[in-house]
Structures are given as structure tokens and as C-alpha cells.
Amino acid sequence: MFVLEGIWIALQQVWAHKLKSAFTLVGVIIGITFLIAVITVVEGMNRYVQEDFAGSLFGVNTFTVVRRSRISTGAETEERRREQARNPDLTLHDVEVVRRAVPDAWRFAYSSDRGFDEVSYRDRRRRNIRLIGASEGYEALQGWEVNRGRGLTPLDERRGLKVAVIGAEIEEKLFPGLDPIGKEIRIGSQRFEVVGVWDKQGGLFGNIRDASILLPYSVYRQTFARDPSDVDQISVKMRSLEEMNAAQIAVEGALRSDRGLRPGEENSFWIETSSELLDTWDKIVKVLFAAIPGLVSISLVVGGIVIMNIMLLSVAGRVREIGIRKAVGARRRDILIQFLAESSTLSIVGASIGILLGIGIGKGVEAFTPMPASVPPWGIALALTLGVLVGVGSGLYPAYRAAKQDPIVALRSE
């Protein structure tokens, strides 16, 4: 009953003194806004990375053999890094070793790639592109689909045809309003016929594909390869995670025995999977989530102190009211509960505003980036719980002061 009373009084006060309340609650509002915004963005990014990004970079159930790790997890030691730097380049021989190790691979491809300055069609140019020379099957393994024209075929590879499949951004830049299929583009001193264009991938990390040009592997090797390595990566895609794990072990074993590594010796190659990337992401998320409590609790403590002050003022200004309530039969705990309800309501109002603002920030991020804003129910539950805790915590001392008022003294006060 007095809980309702306390809630009602608090709401009336917030409503009657909007500006004062805004200042009172600013600490709680900021803390909860920050909490919800970070949770929203991190959860959204989490979903994005797991559902879109990792899949598009590496593909599902796919692993890739490379010379050395390309993703820094921040965990490996300097020594480990130097060791990896001594790994030999991958060669076409390694390609054959891997191919024989996984005869039941669903997709299998190898490729090399490099950044390149410029591609042009007549007087139109696109700078900073990525050239990929890949074996047949690369596009299927990556899940890249042509929007117009065709992808590369084994025939292109065998005959060494100077054909290219281009990304959507390159098409937009070189062929505005034109059909690129059959046109000749110039890459360095060489001319290539465009045979296909991929779907636009878009998105935060999407330009990897959209700004790429794919050439038959043999043509790329002859014309553009500049590092001594024959092959930059060998990718294997299986039909399920279990198959992929088994295949990964088989490939690891095959490469080790081919290279004559002794038991206990480190691999002289590196196997990347999307789970490795996700592990790295998980670590980033953990760091972010570890940083939240500190930052949030600082503003909540400040917010709580402000609420405590306001409650002390409120109690001091309502001593007579407390006296009246006691005279008509309020017990200590009735008064205590009333003021705790009041401070909690204040704090929850602040937390609710914070939740709305935090969701707003999340929606803003969603509007301007490809990341989905995802507010998990547990985030809102956490924010409201914190609101109650701050309210009760900051109200405890003022409410105790109110509850122990002597009714005679209180009734006489002005």
C-alpha cells in the first residue's frame, strides 16, 4: 500500500519537477544508456560477425591452409610469430598433398592474390583493387555467385584464356550504364575479357569481393604473381562440421608427413577456420563486456549519490508529513518502505529513460551501418535490476532517517 504511495509520490515529483528530475537522474540515465547502447551494438555486431561476416570470409564448414596465420589473436608470443615466419611457402605440390588427403571434399580450391593499383576500361579507372588467381571451384567454395555472365570454368584454366570475373563496385565504376560482358579491360599491360559480374555484397566488410577481379590461376601466375610462393591458400569445404574437423586432421597429418615433421614439432603451416576468427571475436567481445561494468558502475554510483542527496532533501522537507503519517499509525517499516519505493521509482524512471536512449543509439547504429541492432531481453532485465539496486541502495539511508523520526518532534517541525 505504501509501496504504491511511494511510487505515486515519486512519479508526481518527477512530473512536477521535470528539469530537476532530469538533473537528479542524469547519472543513472547516462549509466544505463551506455550499458544498453554497448550491449545492443556488441550483440548486433556479434550476430553480424557470426552470421554474415565469418561466413562470407571463410564460408561455413570450410578450412584454409596458409603459410602463416593472418589473424592476430593477440595471444601468440613473439617467438611463435618468428617461428611461423620461417614456414616454407605453399606450392602446387602442397595442393596435391591436400587434394589427396581429402578425396571426399565437397569443394576444393587454391588461389593466390595481391593488391593491384588500377584497372581501366577506355578512359575509366578503378584504383586499389584485389587480383585473385584461383583454381576452378573457388567461386563455388566462397559462395560467390555471378549476377550476369558466367563464372570461371576448367576450360578457361586449361586454355589459359585471358578472361576475368569482376566485382560489382568495379562494374559500377568502369561500365556505368553499359553491359560489361564481352568488354576488354586493361590490368597493367594486359587485356582481359569480362565474362561475368558478381552480386553486390555490400556491407561493412563487403568490399573485399566487390573490389576484386578473378582470373584463371595459371594466367595470374604467369602475369601477376610477385611473391615466390606458388599458392597463397588452399581451401577445403566439407558438408558438415564433423566432416570438416575430420578433414582438417587428415590434411594436417598429410602435410606433416609430406614435410617429414617429427612428433612434437610445430606445424610448418597454418590452418585457418572461421571458428578461429570467431574465437578472436569472442575475445574482443569479452574485453568489451569486461570494460562495461567499470564504466557503468561509476556512473551508477554517481547517480546513486545524487539520488541519495535528493532523497535526504526530500526527507528533510517532509518531516512533518512523516510525523502525520506516524500519528495516524504508520510504523517504522511503513515509512521505510515508502521512501525506498520512492527512491527506487526515481531510479527506475532514470533506468527506463536510459534503456530507451540506449535502444535509440542502437537503432542509429543500425541505420548507418549494416550491423543489426539487437537488444537482448537480458540486457533490459539487467538494466532494470540495476535501476532497482541503485534506487534501494541510495534510498536506504534517507529512508532510515525518515523512519526513525520521533513523531512528536516531527509534528512540531515547520
Binding site: 495516524v328 499509525g329 510504523r331 517499516r333 512528536i408
Partner: protein, 246 residues
């Protein structure tokens, strides 16, 4: 209720009895005997005025009778219950059930409507909302304020405020109505109005104890108890032999 019935109920039951009621205050090194041993009896449906100059102990007696304070020594039996030595929460319960306060300064909650002010004791009695509102409305009707239920105190005149306070005092059907200078802040016409309300209540069986320093107000009571220096100086029974033994 006619006079005969009133006589019958009032002559019987002792509702308040004090024996050697004493209250000491420590003022620095000095001990002040606010009450130095008061023996009194008040029966149901009595209408009593407590008088005395300031410092005579009438406020202290009022606080003790109202269970706002506990005596240093002596006994206080309210409606059969020994009150001395009860703790804060038990005293709160007794104030809630047995006592209706009317104060000089009205002591209404300024931000609450008349209805809510009157509901207050019922809230602490744990009575459900619907019943509470019914009782509060009928208490306001008893003091002729049925049309002012949603007015705030600052929208009411002094006399109306005091009537809201009386409605609040009555709403829980207390054993005693305890009024502390109930007309002290009112002009004489309004005072007269309030005294009429008291008389009506008394007529319908309510026990009333009123502290006042105004003789013309104390005239309304059946019996006047005068305090001096923390002791009862005199019982003056004006009416027909209602005086209780000392």
C-alpha cells in the same frame, strides 16, 4: 441517540486510566518534571477539556494519552490495554486503531486530496482500497464535506481543513478523539462551527479529549481538567455528575 442512552454508555466503561503517570525530561543538568504523577479516569462518551497554562504539562499529557510518547513512570491503561512499555510499532498500531488526532495546525498532507488525507489511517490499517474509499467518503459526509473530496488542503478554508482532519480522526472508529487546540488557528465563527461538530460527535457517542487554553472553548466540554506544574489541579464537572474519581 437520546440523552438517556448517552448516560448509560458513558457512565459505565472506563476507557482511559492513568496511575501516577510521570514524565521527566533532562535539560542539561536539570531534570524537568513535565508530569509529576497524574491519576485520572476517562469513561466512554465523556467530553473532556484539559486546560492549564503553558508549561503545565498538558501537551505532555496529550502526547502520552495519544501514545506518541511513553511515560517515564506510572501506568496508562487504554481501553483495557496497558500501554506503558510498548515498543514503537505497537504504539503505532494503537494510534491507528484507538486514537483519532485533531491538531491545531490541521496537519493534513498538503499534496493529497481531502479523500486521500482521510484514507491515510485506513491505509496503515491495511484496509483494501474500495472499502477504504467508502469509509473515507462517509467520514467526509459526516463533517459535511461530501462535495469536497477531491480538493487539496490549499483549496479549502481553515474550517474545512479542520473538518477534513476530524473526518480523518474518525474514519477508523477510534476509541477516543484527541484534539490539541483544535480551534487555535481559526476565527471565532469557524471555531464555533468546529465546536458544533464536536458536540454532534459527542452526541452520537464519541469520546472526546480536547486540550485548550481558551475558556470559552472549554465551556463546550462536560468536564474540565486543569493541570498545573505537572499535576492535576482541579476537576470541574459542570454537567450532571459525570465526574470520574481521581
Amino acid at each position: 441517540m437520546n440523552g438517556e442512552e448517552r448516560m448509560q454508555t458513558s457512565a459505565r466503561e472506563v476507557i482511559i486510566e492513568t496511575r501516577g503517570l510521570t514524565k521527566l525530561y533532562q535539560m542539561g543538568a536539570e531534570t524537568i518534571h513535565a508530569l509529576a504523577g497524574v491519576d485520572m479516569q476517562i469513561r466512554r462518551n465523556e467530553y473532556i477539556a484539559i486546560m492549564g497554562p503553558s508549561g503545565s504539562g498538558k501537551s505532555t499529557l496529550m502526547n502520552l494519552i495519544g501514545c506518541l510518547d511513553t511515560p517515564t513512570d506510572g501506568e496508562y491503561i487504554l481501553n483495557g490495554t496497558p500501554v506503558q512499555g510498548l515498543d514503537d510499532d505497537e504504539l503505532a498500531r494503537i494510534r491507528n486503531r484507538e486514537i483519532g488526532f485533531v491538531f491545531q495546525t490541521f496537519n493534513l498532507l498538503p499534496r493529497a486530496s481531502a479523500l486521500h488525507n482521510v484514507e491515510l489511517p485506513l491505509i496503515y490499517a491495511g484496509i483494501p482500497a474500495k472499502q477504504r474509499q467508502e469509509k473515507a467518503r462517509s467520514a467526509l459526509a459526516r463533517v459535511d464535506l461530501a462535495d469536497r473530496t477531491h480538493h487539496k488542503p490549499n483549496e479549502l478554508s481553515g474550517g474545512q481543513r479542520q473538518r477534513v482532519a476530524i473526518a480523518r480522526a474518525l474514519v477508523n472508529d477510534p476509541s477516543i478523539l484527541l484534539a490539541d487546540e483544535p480551534t487555535g488557528n481559526l476565527d471565532s465563527k469557524t471555531s464555533y462551527e468546529i465546536m458544533n461538530v464536536f458536540e454532534e460527535l459527542h452526541g452520537s457517542g464519541q469520546t472526546i479529549i480536547m486540550v485548550t487554553h481558551e475558556h470559552d472553548i472549554s465551556e463546550h466540554a462536560e468536564r474540565v481538567v486543569t493541570l498545573r506544574d505537572g499535576l492535576i489541579e482541579s476537576h470541574d464537572a459542570k454537567a450532571d455528575g459525570l465526574m470520574a474519581g481521581v
